[in-house]
């Protein structure tokens, strides 16, 4: 019988589906409408995890209920986790991780305005605290490739009889991802100088890959409201850079963005969905997700 593979969230599940083509169909633990942060597990999810030979997830910063389960239960499955709070766990294959940023993002060279250059310094100072790596790594297609390589390696180790399938699938997937990457580069090429503000900083991998110009996030942790000075600095910066687009996320109230918008007569509010909550899980989801992201970005920014 085939390998039982369980994947925590839908973008990763989509990638693993590719790898398992013709061999196994991975199961998805958190449905697209379930927040991995706060949802309690259902019995079927428990069953899934317990039955799995391979369990693939990001880490307890993201999938908190799964984290408790993995910590508590002696599971028979091989757990694939690319990094933890201490950094990479040895699967890297070129995985690039970013640190969480302060509310007003440190700016890339050239876009800098003098008065907020201290932000960069701040980011370094806090650079080595716990829990400071941003877990949303899959929004960079190159990271997706690194992830796929790491998973494929595990799969081959566990199920050597299908080595050829896995290698072929990985090869195809890398090709597809590279194409996707190129397409998005093309689509977002004109957006590089256009500044925007996001609700929470869950999206910097995408931003960094395509050299987009996010200037700040309203909140760092969606459970933690911002201070008024932060808000006011964001508004100043937004005015300074003539921000025309503010991105909200479907699972969070856009109220702060409305406040900022009220001070910026020309700004629009766009929606970005980093988790693909409206998409059908499956091999195509990852590609749809990133395409949709770049589409909503260009729609708002253009």
């Amino acid at each position: 019988e085939s390998l039982k593979v369980a994947v925590s969230i839908s973008p990763l599940h989509s990638l693993v589906s590719h790898l398992g083509k013709d061999v196994f169909e991975p199961s998805l633990i958190y449905s697209t409408d379930q927040s991995p942060h706060s949802s309690a597990l259902k019995p079927s999810q428990l069953q899934q995890v317990v039955d799995a030979d391979v369990l693939i997830w990001v880490g307890e910063d993201l999938e908190q209920s799964l984290g408790r389960l993995i910590e508590q239960r002696a599971l028979k499955s091989t757990i694939v986790q690319l990094f933890d709070e201490n950094g990479l766990t040895g699967y890297e294959h070129g995985l690039k991780l970013l640190e969480n940023r302060p509310s007003l993002f440190p700016q890339q060279e050239g876009l800098h305005d003098d008065h907020d250059s201290h932000d960069e310094h701040d980011a370094h100072e806090h650079g080595h605290d716990h829990g400071q790596l941003d877990p949303h790594f899959w929004l960079d297609p190159l990271n997706a490739i690194a992830f796929s390589k790491a998973v494929a390696e595990q799969l081959i180790q566990l199920d050597p009889s299908h080595k050829d399938n896995y290698e072929a699938n990985l090869k195809q997937l890398i090709i597809d991802l590279n194409i996707l990457n190129r397409n998005i580069h093309v689509e977002t090429a004109g957006l590089k100088t256009k500044p925007f503000i996001v609700f929470h900083d869950g999206f910097q991998y995408f931003e960094a890959t395509y050299q987009l110009n996010g200037i700040g996030a309203v909140v760092l942790n969606p459970e933690q409201p911002p201070g008024p000075k932060t808000l006011s600095l964001l508004i100043d910066a937004a005015k300074n850079y003539s921000v025309t687009c503010l991105f909200s996320e479907p699972q969070y109230d856009a109220r702060y963005l409305n406040v900022i918008q009220s001070k910026l007569p020309f700004a629009k509010i766009g929606v970005i969905d980093t988790l693909g909550s409206k998409l059908e899980p499956g091999p195509t989801l990852y590609f749809e997700l990133l395409t949709q992201l770049s589409a909503s970005m260009s729609e708002c920014l253009e």
């Binding site: 969606p222 409201p225 201070g227 008024p228 109230d253 109220r255 702060y256």
Partner: protein
């Protein structure tokens, strides 16, 4: 600065006007956790609204009003205290909301948004809403103040002396429910419930009559809002928690001064 903060100041002060006196009744009637219950039931309201394609505000208002009426019905028996009833309704509706949510894909709710909604994000339409609540709620509360107080002292006495206790109690519960349901969308449950119970508790040590307690509570609430917002600007701290912390400071000061006075005597 003021530009960014004045909606917060205005909204906070307006809400304090109602929170002081309404909250005093919540304290007297052992219903300090009414707000929490409303917040938890809000999840159920949102879920139902999305499922049945209603407006979300309508869903929340409907569920909270129904819970208020249920509370009224259950309070008739005296064997379960108010706080336990609130606890049952709060946990029950939260559990129900989560169950419904589990069976209905595609509903996303922002429970933390309801809990921590923030004064800083108050916009002009919110201000209008607050103004409307105040202009309806405050006169209504003043109208039922006296009979409600009599009921709070002793229900039998109030009934014997000609007060329609059921009517007054229902009006009160609906008034609180709707005030909290609206305010929590705007300023978050943490802030509205804190403004409702901490200032009255601080005022209890100073006041000699119920009316004084209502007024002093209002003053403390308004002061907490102003000082809290200034502090939050000063230290770039989240506004809601800063206001709550300020109110707690007033409470602690009030307890400390009272204790000190007793020691001196």
């Amino acid at each position: 600065m003021i530009d960014l903060l004045w909606p917060a100041l205005v909204a906070g002060s307006l809400i304090s006007l109602l929170a002081g006196p309404l909250g005093s009744f919540l304290v007297w009637r052992k219903m300090a956790y009414f707000g929490e219950t409303m917040a938890h039931s809000g999840l159920l309201g949102i879920t139902l609204a999305v499922l049945l394609n209603w407006n979300i505000t309508v869903g929340i208002a409907l569920i909270t009003s129904m819970l208020a009426l249920l509370l009224f019905a259950l309070q008739h028996q005296h064997r379960i205290p108010a706080d336990t009833l609130l606890g049952i309704m709060s946990h029950g509706s939260l559990a129900l909301g989560m169950l419904v949510l589990a069976f209905s894909t595609q509903i996303r709710t922002d429970l933390t948004g309801l809990l921590f909604g923030d004064l800083l994000s108050v916009g002009s339409s919110d201000l209008w809403l607050v103004a409307i609540i105040i202009t309806i709620g405050l006169p209504l509360l003043i109208t039922i103040w006296k009979p409600l107080l009599a009921i709070t002292v002793n229900e039998d006495l109030a009934k014997a002396e000609g007060i329609n206790t059921s009517l007054i109690k229902v009006v009160f519960l609906l008034l609180v429910a709707l005030t909290i349901a609206t305010a929590m969308k705007i300023v978050g449950v943490l802030l509205i419930t804190a403004l409702m119970i901490i200032p009255p508790a601080a005022a209890r040590f100073i006041a000699k009559t119920p009316e004084q307690m209502g007024v002093i509570a209002t003053i403390i609430a308004v002061l907490s809002v102003w000082l809290g917002i200034s502090g939050s600007w000063q230290f770039d701290a989240p506004t809601g928690p800063a206001i709550v912390a300020m109110a707690v400071v007033f409470f602690v000061a009030s307890v400390a001064v009272t204790n000190l006075k007793q020691k001196v005597n």
